[in-house]
Amino acid sequence: MTDVWWPGVALHVVSGKGGTGKTTVAAALALTLAHQGKRILLMEVEDRQGIAQLFDTAPLPYEERKIAVAPGGGEVWALAVTAQEALLDYLDTFYNLRRAGSVLRRMGAIDFATTIAPGLRDVLLTGKACEVVRRIEKRAPNAYSAIVLDAPPTGRITRFLNVNSEVSGLAKVGPIRNHADLVMSVISSPRTAVHLVTLLEEMPVQETIDAVGDLRSANLPVGGIFVNMTRPPMLTSRQLQAARSGTMSVVAIERSLNEAGLTGDSTVVTALMHEAHDHAVRVDLEARETARIVELGLPTFMLPLISEGIDLGGLYQLANLLRAGGVR
């Protein structure tokens, strides 16, 4: 029987080195979780509008919007959060200051305030995610089943989530301090899982290993590793061995090409053999990197390269794979 992963998690945080496709994985994860009638919020915090691009829709406002349906009637909603909007929201919720907030915004003061305190931005952004989690816990009528946060890249993820220590250098007491404590109590609980997206290449894998170490020493709950854009070996292990050692028979290949109706001159044979050699080197490298990921001892999911590029169809494909892998 396959293991079932993260049924009790309310906040899924997805990070990864730039270029590994973390937005794609976050979206696929949201679709997976939305299976069977659930409602999932997919949230981004970096002003990149990556979700809108991925789902091919107009830029997302600061407003929860339905962007996709999942098999079985589930829904994925999306929200793009900026620090400014989150601050206005915060002022409104806790101090009833929405009108004052808009005056301040026109003055540029909101921008200033989110800039002045480096930790403030992150507390506001993670705070918004935690507000959605609290809705779940209160069983509010507008509650989602879970939230997937497309978070900053691995290099910054621990600092981003560890708002407590970030704010402690800044504010020892006061409302923002209390807010940070509240956020931290959600983020460091078993209701949260921080997932990391990587490719089978040395640098992304190294960053993933480093991030797992950082997250663990900050007592943040590490979820799973998503190995993105994998490609199965296209040659058998014997063929790879021959490709690696250069012991393929040029004559035999040339004969076969002629058999197939191709003019198998030696340039074609040499080119094909070079490709095979490259492929073998690549397969070896991927095996080494896979071994390093396995050593982490975390649930690991392999996601294939969608060679046509990622669109909604591709996301469903990835979501099905995650579901088959036990993600609930």
Partner: protein
């Protein structure tokens, strides 16, 4: 990959003695640092005295260049010489906090510097402010440039840009930090009575009152007090952060500076590259061209994905003896498909920017770990080597 764009002549750029700064920029994960290091090595081996400023190199790449310590000073890379003993390579990693501390120490008397360094707001600002890294990269670039002209230690600086949310951050963050530190709000925080009373209307005074009130509510009064004393401390010693940022920004518009935009053949990275190209044009910053990394190599044989797949199918029916060749053909078809898709994406970029020169670097099977690997990338950048020759 043959792009429908003018060739970016890397060797001409590296040998152009009027160019003394090359900035490598682009989205995260496209190989900026490796490209910067490869360009620096190539320039040094062609006789230039080069300093490469890297922001966040992978450990093994750093080791390859002999950077085992992060001490914020350029270190000579051994084993690098150009023709007839000319040329040299220095490399350094940016330590953002250290750089900021040095700016403080270099511009304030010891007591005042210590007061600034101990200020909690300064500590937060110098270690985690969104944009400090970009600002300090620029600051360091300015410093290296000054060292270059006073001591003649190097005649070419190659700078790698920080792994920002957006490549544009490198250009925008220093200005943002500068105007933030010189801005009206921070002045008012540092001297509330003066700011609120003089020369501004009642409404504005009311708004500023509201502003400090709100900030106090959110952050607590201690934070504002820290900010106030920080600003008061730097006020008299600094010639204005904004001026510093402006000066470096001007350096980037200088004719001695050249930008290389780096991308990978995929949608996001090329979109980011397009933004950057547009921005450079708007700000009259000189663009050398585009480096397209990680291109699935095509080996100039005329065998399409469709042909290869059809032939593979035919061979597979013929039995076990033909399996190897069939597998090779399928592998070729797969690579060809990726190549076609990448070419399509690249052509969308070149069609929109027909005057931007470009060069491509094939996807390497393995990461780069040593000078030999960097040299090879340099050859590929300058089209002095076909990928074919490496897998013998």
């Amino acid at each position: 990959m043959k792009l429908n764009a003018p060739d970016l002549d890397i060797d001409a750029l590296l040998n152009d003695r009027s160019i003394n700064i090359i900035v490598c920029t682009g989205a995260g994960g496209v190989g900026k640092t490796t490209t910067a290091a490869a360009l620096a090595l190539r320039a040094a081996e062609q006789g230039r005295d080069v300093c490469v400023l890297t922001i966040d190199p992978a450990k093994r790449l750093a080791q390859a260049m002999g950077l085992s310590v992060l001490d914020n000073t350029p270190r000579r890379v051994d084993g690098v010489t150009g023709p007839a003993g000319t040329g040299s390579l220095h490399a350094m990693m940016l330590d953002m906090k250290r750089t900021f501390d040095e700016v403080v120490e270099g511009n304030a008397d010891p007591d005042r510097a210590q007061a600034i360094l101990n200020n909690p707001f300064y500590q937060a600002l110098s270690s985690s402010f969104a944009g400090t890294q970009e600002y300090m990269a620029m600051e360091k670039l300015g410093q290296l440039r000054t060292t270059a002209s006073t001591e003649g230690s190097w005649d070419l600086i190659i700078v790698d840009t920080p792994p920002s949310r957006s490549a544009l951050d490198f250009l925008d963050a220093p200005e943002r930090l500068g105007s933030f530190l010189d801005g009206r709000f921070i002045r008012i925080l540092s001297a509330p009575a003066r700011g609120a009373g003089r020369g501004i209307g009642k409404l504005a005074a009311f708004s500023f009152g509201l502003f400090t009130n709100v900030l106090n509510k959110i952050l607590g009064s201690q934070v504002l007090a820290d900010v106030g004393s920080f600003v008061a401390a730097i006020d008299t010693t600094f010639g204005g952060f904004r001026e510093r940022a402006d000066a470096t920004y001007k350096l980037l518009q200088d004719t001695g500076t050249s930008f290389i935009v780096i991308a990978a053949p995929e949608g996001d990275a090329l979109r980011e590259a397009a933004f950057f190209v547009k921005r450079l044009k708007t700000d009259s910053m000189p663009l050398a061209g585009l480096v397209l990394n990680r291109v699935q190599g095509d080996n100039e044989i005329e065998l399409s994905a469709e042909q290869a797949t059809a032939s593979a199918e035919r061979l597979e029916k013929l039995g076990a003896d033909e399996r190897l060749t069939a597998a090779l053909l399928r592998l070729h078809a797969d690579r060809q498909r990726i190549h076609t898709r990448q070419l399509h994406l690249a052509e969308r970029f070149t069609a929109a920017h027909p005057d931007v020169a470009a060069t491509t670097v094939p996807a390497l099977a393995e990461d780069v770990h040593d000078l030999a690997g960097l040299r090879e990338i340099g050859d590929l950048l300058a089209r002095k080597r076909e990928l074919k020759s490496r897998s013998k």
